[in-house]
């Protein structure tokens, strides 16, 4: 059986436990009355409805782009797909090996050296010592870290962290690839190199789910687009159509720098 993703009526709520007080609750509830993403659940707890009523299916060969404004629920949806957050309602099923590139930090320990962080990632993928050494060389060369590879990650520049994270995340070839938009950061010279490696990774994967608000990338890579708004699916369809609607629906063009990559 090939890779697939099935999502039915997915709902993710974030509970607000800490620093919660009656008055805060009231303020939030009153403020949110319009869009009502902050609600009281059946147990009288304040929850933020991050994602609701999400249903879609992906089969091998499909490349899905998720677009939407900040706070629309894109990242939460990706995390739910990656199994970090378990559904508060509905169901998520994924078939095939999975790699989720969710954020540049991605479980990296800033106190450890780049080499040690790579070793940890290797262990996570059940590699043995030899495979890990191989992986370390691969990452070190690709990320162009030089001697920094043996220094704690906290001494790196932010560009170096992104390069390390990128090299590490793209070293594994999954069937299902979940990606957040952070990988588009990094300096210009690295970007073309990254693009190349990423494209080969994307081609290698059976299914891609990409969350970004950079239209250009979605247009060139994705076959299908889901437009999210307030935690729900606003539109779902062929990339071109939904992107045009999305672009038409927004007022300020400058918010979406479509030329970032060119």
């Amino acid at each position: 059986m090939a890779a697939s993703i099935d999502v039915q009526n997915l709902q993710i709520d974030f509970p607000l436990y800490h620093g919660q007080s009656r008055s805060l609750k009231k303020t939030l509830l009153n403020k949110a009355k319009g869009s009502s993403r902050v609600e009281e659940n059946s147990q009288h707890k304040t929850v933020i409805k991050a994602v609701r009523d999400i249903s879609f299916s992906l089969r091998a060969g499909e490349r899905l782009g998720i677009v939407g404004h900040n706070g629309a629920g894109k990242t939460t949806l990706l995390r739910a797909l990656a199994g970090v957050y378990e559904p508060v309602g509905g169901r998520v099923q994924i078939r095939g090996s999975l790699n989720a590139m969710l954020d540049p930090g991605q479980g990296m320990n800033m106190e450890l050296t780049g080499r040690e962080n790579v070793a940890l990632r290797g262990r996570f993928h059940r590699m043995n010592q030899q495979e890990i050494e191989h992986l370390q060389e691969d990452v070190r060369n690709f990320a162009e870290l030089g001697d920094f590879f043996d220094l704690p990650v906290r001494t790196y520049s932010s560009g170096m962290i992104v390069r390390l994270a990128f090299a590490m995340a793209t070293a594994f070839r999954p069937e299902v690839l979940l990606m957040d938009e952070w990988f588009l950061a990094g300096d210009a010279s690295f970007r073309s190199k990254a693009q190349e490696r990423l494209e080969s990774l994307v081609r290698g994967a059976d299914i891609l789910v990409l969350s970004t608000h950079i239209n250009e990338i979605v247009r060139s890579w994705c076959t299908r687009v889901i437009w999210m708004e307030d935690g729900r699916i606003r539109a779902d369809g062929p990339a071109g159509e939904v992107l045009d609607a999305f672009a038409g629906g927004k007022t300020d063009q400058s918010l979406f720098p479509e030329t970032v990559l060119s």
Binding site: E86, L98, M108, R203
Partner: protein, 291 residues
């Protein structure tokens, strides 16, 4: 769609039928058991990751220091040396009798107390990793246990030196400490899981645990020999900290504890594990939201 497919078509058969992710809301009891067992089983599969994590923890703690982890040994030795002479005098006990007892007692207690206090933060402190990828929660428990066993290993040096210096005889009874230590490991995992989950949800628990541990330290015959209490020591059998400590400590000092001690220790362990499993079934899927 003209897609170049590079991924292996020949992935093993059993993997094809399995879901990488299969999560849904409203699981029944059996499904919850299956998820919890899966977490533990996958955690065992990742034992190398847990071991590497724990080793790196220790390396990190002592990065740049000359003695490294042996600072632990040194500070334990200093503590036991100074306290030993003082309390031997206070309790009117010969030092050759008291010091071996104290070294064993204190080091074992430190092991228990550290697991409990670190157990409170086991998930909260792993927030970055838990939020970025799906790793079985049992990996973090394994990391905590392995780290503390490594630290115990450094401290054992002190016990060995004290035992050699005072020529304490070690009898065959010492072997009884091995199964007892296995009980400790199971209890250690259970405690960390229980506290880690509860403390992630209720942030007031760690200080409460802290004060309980403080009292337990003075009550549970860590600093003084249980014989010192005479007939008033009856309550010790109802103190799980004491009985658990005793099933490892007493064999190493040359005698097998009474069966009441074992009964109490094992009974408490079973209750602890049952409570932990019940809690894990109920909250496993919520932990990521709490941290």
């Amino acid at each position: 769609m003209d897609l170049v497919k590079q991924s292996d078509v020949s992935t093993s058969q059993d993997e094809e039928t399995e879901f990488a992710i299969d999560l849904r809301h409203g699981l029944g009891l059996i499904a919850r058991h299956r998820m919890a067992c899966g977490d533990v089983a996958k955690g065992f599969g990742l034992w190398r990751l847990a071991l590497t994590l724990s080793w790196l923890d220790i390396r990190l703690r002592y990065r740049g220091s000359i003695l490294g982890p042996f600072w632990l040994t040194l500070s334990t030795a200093l503590m036991i040396g100074s306290l030993g002479f003082l309390y031997a005098f206070l309790f009117h006990t010969p030092i050759r009798d008291y010091l071996p007892f104290l070294s064993l007692s204190l080091i074992l207690w430190t092991f228990i107390a550290t697991i409990i206090s670190e157990g409170c933060t086991v998930f909260v402190s792993a927030e970055g990793m838990i939020r970025s990828m799906r790793i079985p929660f049992s990996v973090y428990l394994g990391q905590l246990l392995a780290r503390n066993i490594l630290i115990l290993g450094h401290n054992v040096v002190v016990i060995v030196v004290v035992f050699l210096a005072f020529q304490v005889p070690v009898s065959f009874a010492a072997f009884a400490a091995i199964p007892a230590f296995l009980i400790w490991m199971v209890d250690g995992i259970a405690t960390a899981l229980l506290l880690g989950a509860i403390c992630a949800r209720f942030r007031d628990i760690p200080p409460i645990i802290g004060s309980i541990m403080q009292i337990a330290f003075y009550v549970s015959a860590v600093m003084f020999k249980p014989e010192f209490l005479g007939k008033r020591g009856w309550f010790l059998l109802y103190d799980p900290f004491f009985t658990l400590l005793q099933i490892v400590r007493q064999p190493l000092l040359g005698s097998i504890p009474g069966y009441a001690t074992y009964l109490s220790a094992i009974g408490f362990s079973i209750a602890l594990c049952a409570l932990t499993w019940y809690t894990f079934l109920r909250v496993r899927h919520r932990i990521a939201f709490w941290i």
